[in-house]
């Protein structure tokens, strides 16, 4: 069995009286692509924030490579080899590409001074590696001058710098063009081929279905379904399941109600 990179056990998160997550179990093994889907408000974002250490769970246990962790934080998460490409990309737009790639993990030498040349070298290597090269921008370009896809490239370059074991992609294809989406998909396959893992969060179920080895469907703060690829025949299966979960009794029931209303008029 493949090594378990991270495991969440019975994770709950409440904001005051409001439960965002109520007892979620989730694990990611080495070399697999897990697709996380769910409606708005299902708790996907909260779950990602817990995985990346930005938010602390109210209760539950986090295990990294089988060992429970304490004092979970964003820095600890990154040290454990978990990198997140956030939906808003988490870039500082007035800074250069280099400064964004090395945000929070500056390459320093003597007395904390930056190794500027090394950083620029590494940044251009990373950008080439993922195919976000261009004649018009350099590692010194300001991120605010880049297009959406190029900014996504910077965020991804930052995520792969340290050979992360698990990369979390939060809605990576939102607001991207077709070619840019293709690039992201290619990147996901590249990462899997290199034996690392990806947690892919998407609104577009077809996108997730195309790329994931395993699906996790969330609904109202709970995991409603975990299924291997072999158990799901088509994206429509997933969509139907999600509709069933969201509207027990089925959409058909809704239609009937609508029809009845119309008939009553």
């Amino acid at each position: 069995m493949a090594e378990r990179i991270i495991e969440l056990r019975d994770i709950s998160k409440s904001y005051g009286q409001v439960y965002a997550l109520g007892g979620v179990n989730l694990s990611v093994d080495r070399g697999e692509v897990v697709g996380l889907i769910g409606d708005n408000g299902a708790g996907k974002s909260t779950l990602i924030k817990i995985l990346s250490g930005v938010v602390k769970p109210t209760s539950g246990e986090i295990l990294v490579r089988g060992k429970p962790v304490t004092g979970w934080s964003a820095a600890r998460s990154r040290d454990a080899g978990i990198e997140t490409v956030f939906q808003d990309r988490a870039l500082a737009v007035q800074q250069t590409i280099v400064r964004n790639i090395f945000m929070g993990r500056e390459l320093t030498g003597f007395m904390g001074f930056l190794k500027v040349n090394k950083e620029v070298e590494e940044a251009s290597r990373l950008m080439r590696e993922i195919g976000f090269t261009s004649k018009v921008f350099t590692p010194h370009s300001i991120v605010g001058q880049l297009s959406g896809g190029e900014r996504q490239g910077v965020a991804i370059a930052r995520a792969i710098y340290k050979q992360a074991e698990l990369i979390i992609l939060d809605e990576p294809t939102t607001a991207l063009s077709l070619t840019e989406t293709a690039k992201v998909f290619h990147f996901v396959r590249q990462v899997r081929a290199s034996g690392r893992s990806i947690l892919f969060i998407g609104h577009n179920i077809h996108h997730v279905f195309d790329i994931a080895d395993r699906f996790v469907v969330m609904d109202r703060g709970k995991v409603a379904l975990t299924a291997d690829r072999s158990e799901v025949k088509s994206a429509e299966d997933l969509i139907n399941f999600m509709e069933d979960v969201a509207h027990p009794g089925g959409l058909a029931g809704l239609h009937d109600a609508g029809d009845a209303e119309q008939r009553a008029r």
């Binding site: 988490a90 500082a92 737009v93 320093t108 261009s134 004649k135």
Partner: protein, 349 residues
């Protein structure tokens, strides 16, 4: 805006990417001269304002503006301002403001004066002042950051509070420190070297070190990122609160040095020490080209801004106008600089 760009659509999708060469990263603005101008446009703009202003002054009164005496008097007082302008550039870049530095100057120099008056070596006094500044900076920073207060209002409050404390205890009395003149500390920090007030060399050293800290050090990089996008900085594992507290500590230390220098220049400590610096120092930061919204800034620009602001007062009077014109010209230069910077730098969101 010569660094604008278009996504490179001719690049094949990553799947079939051809081996790219290092050459593709070259850009016209990589030429060192253009790169230098683009990277330093704010401080170069400030330098331009300064040069034009000085040219106007020189035309208005060539005899006064070619005498060394005028420059010497500016070089004596300018260092005091530099020691607080530079740390304030860090604070403003971090997205905060600190209006408590005048009181910190007064408080730290008060400690210095007490130690010297008690008969101890002035070096000991300087160390005591630095520790005082550091602690006050930490206090103010913690109040703002961990108390979750608005830095504008909280530091204004701290300024009144600390100044009030000084006034209550001293009942408005000043301290004369005549023994300072014979001390080693005075020779080293406030003497003269080849007719030039020696404190300007210390101030230049401080500016250079701070500029390196700002541009080439992890601390500076994190200050800029935190000011730019604190949420992202936190998501990337930067201890945002700690960085914020540190910039206030830096102001505390700078204010302590500034206060000590101002006492050494005058041989006297006044309970109002530092008060007059509030507005000129703030003006210097923004005249220097550091924008109000955080994320970017320039230490060297701030220093040039401080030089500009100190020359306005001297210059207006020396140019033959009455002292009543000083405030008017102060305002004029500030407004013109801001307009210039607005045109000179784009804001990215």
């Amino acid at each position: 805006m010569s660094k604008t760009m278009e996504p490179d659509l001719h690049e094949p999708a990553a799947g079939t990417s051809r081996p790219s060469s290092q050459k593709e990263w070259k850009h016209p603005s990589d030429h060192w001269m253009r790169g230098f101008i683009l990277d330093n446009r704010a401080s170069l703009g400030t330098l331009g304002v300064f040069i034009i202003m000085m040219a106007v002054f020189m035309v208005a009164n060539p005899t006064v503006f070619t005498t060394w005496y005028l420059y010497r008097s500016v070089l004596t007082t300018l260092p005091v301002a530099l020691f607080v302008v530079v740390p304030l550039v860090f604070v403003v870049t971090c997205g905060e403001i600190d209006l408590s530095f005048p009181a910190t100057m007064g408080f730290a120099s008060w400690v210095f004066a007490l130690v010297v008056q008690a008969g101890y070596d002035p070096f000991l006094g300087i160390i005591a002042a630095l520790i005082t500044g550091l602690l006050l900076g930490f206090l103010v920073g913690s109040l703002v950051v961990y108390g979750g207060l608005s830095s504008l209002i909280a530091t204004l409050g701290m300024n009144f509070l600390l100044r009030g404390l000084i006034q209550i205890i001293n009942e408005g009395k000043s301290m004369a420190l005549t023994s300072l003149a014979d001390s080693w500390a005075y020779t080293i920090f406030s003497g003269e070297l080849m007719g030039i007030p020696v404190q300007i060399f210390w101030a230049i050293g401080f500016v250079v070190l701070s500029a390196m800290l700002y541009n080439r050090h992890r601390f500076g990089a994190q200050v800029r990122v935190v000011g730019d996008n604190p949420d992202s900085a936190q998501q990337m594992g930067i201890d945002v609160k700690r960085v914020r507290v540190k910039v206030f500590v830096l102001v505390g230390i700078g204010a302590a040095i500034a206060g000590t220098f101002s006492v050494m220049i005058n041989f006297t400590w006044w309970p109002t020490a530092g008060d007059g610096y509030l507005l000129p120092v703030l003006a210097s930061v923004f005249v220097g080209g550091t924008p109000t919204w955080g994320g970017i800034g320039t230490v060297v620009g701030g220093a040039i801004g401080a030089v500009t602001v100190s020359f306005i007062q001297t210059g207006v009077v020396a140019a033959g106008l009455s002292g009543f014109y000083v405030q008017f010209f102060n305002g004029l230069i500030i407004i013109l600089s801001l307009l210039g910077h607005k045109w000179n730098q784009a804001r990215y969101r």
